[in-house]
Symmetry: C5
Subunit: 354 residues, 5 copies
């Protein structure tokens, strides 16, 4: 989270609409994929030129310009100006710390969502930004991370006469949102595995590393929450939007995505509930182990302390200790010790300590 | 919960309306029960054919098609197409992880609810899906689990001139919802038993297994909550619905179910409240036991340590230790020890430790 | 609570409107008290016949039929049919687990409230049901428990020309509700005593029985909450009701009851706040006692362990231990021990342990 | 709080409008102060007669009747009937457990607020009641406690042509409310001191008395909360009131008081937040002290136990123990002990225990 | 916080509109900076005279009077009367404990916000007040702290034909608000560093100082919260304001600031979540260390106690102890001890204690 706040801090003093790359610069090339389709035709071009994009965007059929990578400010700015995007939109696209939201510009809708990737091996959560611009007959998507997130949508586009091909840009936009939210469940499932793993460790081998892990998990849940909670609001806004960019049929489908986003939120809240008891579990387990340790100590001490006392009595050097003269005094002493020891053991067993 | 999130993840990348069985496939046959009734006549046919169902659905009197099992995709798809169900409805019927909801299609209402079964022996919670479709003069019900849940409704149908027989399909649908929610209380009562059992264990024999149990119980409460909370909203939606599928009289009866769903929710919240203090109780009990252990140790150590010290003084080998020469030196030492021991015991009693 | 959920479970599979006694059957006779009054006349008849009740109900002046006991289903059913009560109302009267609510039938209002009795001796909370039916010129009240709850209202009726006598049935109904809610404060005051007692025990003699007590108290608070929270809503509904059964003046008086119900709710919430820290207090107190115990042990062990060590040095059997030959070796050793012991004591005092 | 609930309980069974003194009776005389003013003239009369009050109330200029003490029922009843107060208002004035509220009677507004006094020496919180009645051209105030709370307002009245003198009764009423709420901050500041003191004690000398103190503080915060929370609602009601008793200008000034009441509420919530962690801090501090104690014990035991063991080896009486015969055996043994002791100390230092 | 409540308390008894400096007096001079600009011209004058300000304020182009320091009451009062500010506004400007808010006067808007400065070295949070007055063609800003907060805005003004220069006073006001909120993120980032540092300390070297630190951090979070939460409401009010002081375009930009204020709030809530588990982490870490200590003690005691017991047996002085006569009795005893010691070690290793 530290990094998120620091990035936001970079903006202090800047004019709104300034193009600043808040993320880290990268070496890879920004990829521009151009897809044109209607029910009958489909044209997919990787590494399309900007002119092609502009031409396609302004002519039917439906155009999808899918841009992967936002780290090349100049290029993105050029794309922005070619596609005639508003300066505030361009600023938000480049910022990778934007809160999920919908902005309603006159002819276009600007949607920001977060892509969440959780690697259950490295236990790293990657939170990157996706910007969608929906206009009449076109969709432009900007993905911060290099990812195959939208690959299934591209594949479904290849099926002729599918619903996706027959409907317009709004349905494509819906399909992309659906795709992002469905992917949350994969992320959440991975996260759940780690949660289970932490829980197991807690109960098996509690140690301060586990506490660090719990704190890390809690912070990750906060990040997940911040990313997933606003989606409900976004979809609800899209449904109620006074805009003819979204058809009535598509609004109906959005209800489905709305239900999914609620399920994602409920899952996050369950994670929160569970995580909040983890430190308690840790402490309770330490308490239990402490009890076990103390029992051993107490048993040992309590058995041997009286025995040693007996031995030390007969180790005294008084001239006149009658027992010392007895023939079987030593064995009597040993027997006494045995009796006391067994008595203590019996006592502990009755107390259910052993 | 893990399994639920994983199942949801399966849907990533699929077109909405795709028929996917998110649950596990089973061997048993899907059962189709066809019931036709009005105030005078009643026809019950187990294992009805699809044609019969379709014919009956489209002709008066009231028809109830009760389908048990959703694991045979092909069959369910066929049923769906015969009964002319919308593809999104069919997808939701097959998905067994749908959130409870009401969808208002033009001529039909689609209602999803969760059936909850808690076995107080095995302490397993089974959460399965029930789909209800209410149309003019017909109800179609899909039950994921093989269950006798609706048996009492079938029995009540057998009573001639009963309210259930005299009223229409909407009243039947209400009766089914009422049945599902009344069953929640049986589930909650079973769960309550287990909660009591865990509490007792906590106080009697706290050990890490109990902690695992508490965590399991907490997760089950989260599942119960997720299933039961939305029912209130569903029933309230049904009451306010702008649809003439539900008559005014039936809306009145729904108020009754609404009250019950609130009671179920209140019960769940009570469970949550109680469960949230269980780990605290566990730790407090361990603390108490620790105190008891430490008291024993302290009493033993504190009594014998000074005694042993006295003994070891007279075990020293100095040439000149006057007491050693005394005739009754040994007995004097024993008496000294007795006095010290009794003093300590008196001190402990005053401190109320023994 | 267990019993409440079990009782609710009994209803599964039954037709709505079925008359089932969810409470336990009793031997006592159901009492029917008939009271007729206007500003000038007052007629009180205990053990009135049903015919008298019906006649009175349908003729002026204001009639109050006060029925104590709901355990005789047949009788109550007969009363219900004579008084022409709706079957759903009759079912709710007999059920003793109904949530507090107002139902607006055409000519009558049906109000359910909970009567709470807390015995500060036995520490038992008795939660029973009160049903009020308000019609034009009559009130019918059903009390589950045998109780003198309404005795003060009967007494106030005996005062000629009092407000209660001069106003209509709605004011009587308001007076009964006011009476129920004022009685909550007696219950809450008794409960508060027990809460104080538990707190004291916690601090004086913490032991696992106290934990059981705390858990019991928490469950009772949940029951109180479930009973008292809905009253606010009920009264607010009565105030806003579109019905001419309740006059404008009476609505004004209801505002007063509304304020009281809020005070009752605030009290319950305070109880909840306080009870939620009780386990923490218990643990903290155990921790304190543990510290005290450990201090004693540590002081004893730390003083005597070095002393015993010194003694055991001079108990060694080496041929050549110079000190052993000293004339005052023994006294030197004793002095050494004294010095070490005092040193330790000084150290502990500086640490503020003793 | 106990006393509050008990007082409320006293009202059970009484007719609404009954005059009952719920507080304790006192010996002091009820003081009636009569103040008449407009921009030019000011007349202050302590111990005014009722007739003067009535006369003044019904004639211009603005009249303020300031009554201190409500413990003389007869007198207050007489005042009430002279001033023509509604019976319900009179009941609420006498009850000293009324929740803060505004009641809108036809020609007058009745406002109840709580006066809070916290003595940071005795750590006692005094919660008494203030009733304000605002009519056309007059304000009547009833103060339960003998207090100089309104002295600054009286003083400000003495300034000729001040805003307070120039405006009407509504502005005076606003000034009184402002005064009450500003006084809350003095109360809260005193309370804050005590909170700091408790916190310090917790960290310095934790003992069960501190726990009692924390519980007392928590209950006081609940009382503060119950008194301060409703003020926000009251002022907001006054602002939105459909009544020409309050002029538009005064409504504007009320906004200022509204902001202050929110600040008071925020302060209370901060107190709650802080107080809720106090028990945790207490336990954590005990844990720390326990750790310190255990370290001392462990260090002492762990150093001397092996040493004593060595000594006891050479205290054995075997005929043939070669070391015993060595010339410097004793010194070798001492050296061995020294080495072991230093080794242990080194180990502890490495573990950072000493 | 203590100081804040005390400052608020100072106002008790004062007439609203009284000019009181609630903050501490300072020596520095109040700075008055006058900036006039339109798209073409820009005039910046530090230490402007009041007459210049008044003249400029009442004539186009846009005027910004930026006043740093509010500790000189006379001067500020003079400024206020020259600029014709309402007495309530002047009071709020001088009070440095005002809650963030918007007041809508007829021709001007009065906005109060908090400036937050967190020094991550000294770990001090400085909370000072900023007042903005927006009128037609002018903005007046009062800063309590001497700060360069608005320097970037001044710099951006120097860019000819920038958006800031071309738009009116409302856009300037927006730019200042944006600047304040963007600065929050720098404050939050500094705070986050300290939070991380505390967390690390907790896990490394838990001691009571850390607890004091945690409590301080918690109080600072409460202060941050109180300052940042109301900003959302302020901006939302500005957006919905029925006033032609704010143009439609500027309202659109305010949406951007609104999103940022939500992000700031979310960050604060995350801090709260994290901080609330810090004491738990502290206790859990102490528990862990305690376990470690107890293990060492138990191991040492448990190994040496039986060994010492054996030694003391053979230190007894019975006449007849056969082993003592054995030739290798001593070595047999040593071997026995070794065996027992190793046995114990094996036992501990199996228990995974070492």
């Amino acid at each position: 989270m530290t990094s998120f706040i620091k990035k936001r801090g970079k903006k202090y003093g800047l004019s709104p609409g300034s193009l600043v790359l808040t993320g880290e610069p990268k070496d890879t090339k920004v990829k521009v994929q151009l897809i044109e389709f209607d029910a009958d035709t489909l044209k997919i071009k990787d590494n399309a030129s900007l002119d092609e994009c502009v031409f396609s965007k302004e002519h039917p059929p439906v155009t999808w310009i899918n841009i992967t990578g936002i780290h090349d400010i100049q290029l993105v700015a050029k794309i922005g100006s070619h596609l005639k995007l508003h300066p505030l939109v361009l600023e938000d696209i480049l910022s990778n710390v934007q809160r999920s939201k919908v902005d309603n510009y006159k002819d276009t809708l600007y949607i920001v969502m977060r892509q969440l990737d959780f690697n259950s091996e490295s236990e790293q959560l990657k939170d990157s930004q996706i910007s969608l611009i929906l206009g009449k007959d076109f969709v432009v998507s900007f993905l911060e991370a290099e990812t195959d997130l939208f690959a299934p949508v591209v594949n479904r586009l290849k099926v002729k006469n599918s619903r996706l091909r027959s409907r317009g840009a709004d349905y494509l936009c819906y399909a992309l949102i659906d795709c992002i939210i469905d992917y949350y469940f994969i992320t959440l499932a991975n996260f759940d595995e780690v949660l289970d793993r932490v829980e197991e460790k807690l109960l098996d081998r509690p140690n301060p590393k586990t506490i660090k892990k719990i704190l890390a998990v809690k912070r990750q849940i906060l990040t997940l929450r911040r990313a997933i909670w606003p989606t409900r609001e976004i979809i609800s806004q899209l449904q109620r939007l006074e805009s003819n960019l979204i058809s009535k049929t598509t609004r109906f489908y959005l209800q489905d995505v709305y239900d999914h986003s609620i399920q994602a939120i409920e899952t996050i809240e369950s994670f929160r509930d569970i995580s909040s008891s983890l430190i308690e579990v840790y402490v309770s387990n330490l308490s239990y182990k402490m009890n076990e340790i103390m029992k051993v100590l107490t048993i040992m001490a309590t058995i041997f302390v009286p025995l040693t006392f007996i031995a030390s009595i007969y180790g005294m050097n008084f001239n006149n200790i009658p027992e010392l003269q007895w023939k079987y005094g030593y064995f009597y002493a040993l027997f006494l010790m045995l009796a006391v020891g067994c008595g203590m053991l019996y006592y502990f067993r009755r107390k259910k300590w052993i």
